[in-house]
């Protein structure tokens, strides 16, 4: 009876973890009715199964032979062993992930709050009145972005990048040019340009032998700030047409240019800029050219990555 009763759901995908043993002729203590398909979990003898969390999940009531299988000590041991194996694996991953991705360093860049994000966005579109661009230090480590508006963060660039992809999809959709793989293409293209920029700047910093504390992640953060202007431009272009797009893009381009120059000047031209002296000398001039080139590449890329979205 049990065999026929259980043969029916055999064709359906099994939701239980443990295979049900249909042919085990066990006399179940709680099995009053041989025609009963489902275990009566309210009665005492099957409490041993009912007490445990259901491994099959999704509310598929197991049969009595399952209860016998699960109550056996072997299954307990197997579950404990499996969970300890999972814990070991997690430990291994946690230990080794720090070698490839500097997780602790990344946490610094995401220590932001709403006030900081608001002020930073304002600074990105209107950097002309800000006076002090130095990052404050606290015993040799830079202060977290939450406490200093000049500190670079990765939250705004990451969010702006994702928003840019979505806005690009929106823009393409309003022009009937949308297809899902285009989104991936936009993302890939923007990421490729970002990578190329980072590599080019790192190469130039190496060639000009600049002794700077500008880390790679800092650089990614600074280069990611241009997505904010791009989003503004495309959105305005969608609302007000090409004129709006060009106006907002021009404004954001100039703002990003000024922002980058003022920020990078402190990082690349450290000694000269700290005194406020106009830079002289061949070495400083080369560094100034490098800063200007990096800052000038931002508006070019901002235009290049958005002009095909606004028709």
């Amino acid at each position: 009876m049990h065999a026929t009763g259980l043969a029916a759901p055999a064709g359906t995908p099994r939701l239980r973890k443990w295979p049900s043993k249909r042919r085990v002729p066990v006399s179940q203590p709680g099995m009053a009715d041989p025609h009963q398909f489902f275990d009566d979990t309210s009665s005492a003898p099957s409490r041993g199964y009912g007490g445990q969390p259901s491994p099959g999940g999704l509310g598929y009531p197991p049969s009595s032979s399952d209860a016998a299988f699960l109550a056996a000590p072997m299954s307990n041991m197997a579950m404990v062993y499996g969970s300890s194996l999972a814990a070991q694996g997690k430990e291994l991953v946690d230990k080794n992930i720090d070698r490839f991705i500097p997780v602790s360093k990344l946490k610094y860049y995401f220590a932001v709050d709403t006030v900081y994000v608001g002020k930073k966005l304002g600074l990105l579109v209107f950097p002309y009145l800000h006076q002090d661009w130095e990052v404050q230090y606290q015993q040799d480590t830079p202060v977290a972005p939450r406490f200093d508006i000049n500190a670079p963060d990765l939250y705004i660039p990451a969010m702006a990048f994702i928003t840019y992809i979505l806005v690009a999809g929106l823009a393409l959709g309003t022009q009937d040019r949308f297809s899902p793989d285009l989104l991936g293409l936009q993302a890939s293209s923007a990421l490729a340009w970002l990578t190329l920029e980072v590599v080019a700047i790192l190469l130039s910093l190496y060639l000009v032998t600049v002794n700077t504390d500008l880390t790679t992640i800092d650089l990614v953060a600074f280069l990611g700030y241009k997505y904010v202007g791009m989003i503004g431009g495309v959105l305005t272009g969608l609302l007000f047409g090409k004129i709006g797009y060009y106006l907002v893009l021009a404004w954001c381009c100039v703002s990003i240019f000024v922002f980058m120059i003022r920020t990078l000047r402190l990082k690349i031209l450290a000694q000269a800029a700290a005194e406020g002296v106009p830079v002289r000398g061949a070495r400083n001039q080369l560094r100034m050219y490098l800063t200007m080139a990096v800052a000038a590449a931002q508006p070019v890329l901002m235009y290049w990555l958005t002009f095909h979205l606004v028709r």
């Binding site: 936009q186 293209s189 490729a192 190329l196 032998t209 070495r283």
Partner: protein, 82 residues
């Protein structure tokens, strides 16, 4: 926009190959870019030219074996998948 991460990787592989094939004796010495010709003493800044020569030499030294591996894989994959 056909500028994808894949084309960036291809370009990077080609560039690194190009740097790795610059022969020290036959070519670089003849144009004055050999690594034994660039030492300007212990001045404060090495200058762009000596930095470039150092970069070429280090790329040649470090990337020799990985380039062999990556090139072989690329050749096989391109032969199979076009």
């Amino acid at each position: 926009m056909a500028f994808t991460l894949y084309s960036l990787m291809q370009a990077a592989l080609l560039c690194v190959n190009a740097i790795a094939v610059l022969h020290e004796e036959r070519f670089l010495k003849n144009i004055g870019w050999g690594t034994d010709q660039g030492i300007g003493g212990f001045g404060e800044e090495p200058g762009i030219k000596s930095q470039l020569m150092n970069l070429i030499r280090s790329v040649r030294t470090v990337m020799r074996v990985p380039l062999i591996i990556v090139n072989s894989i690329t050749i096989v994959l391109l032969l199979l998948f076009g």
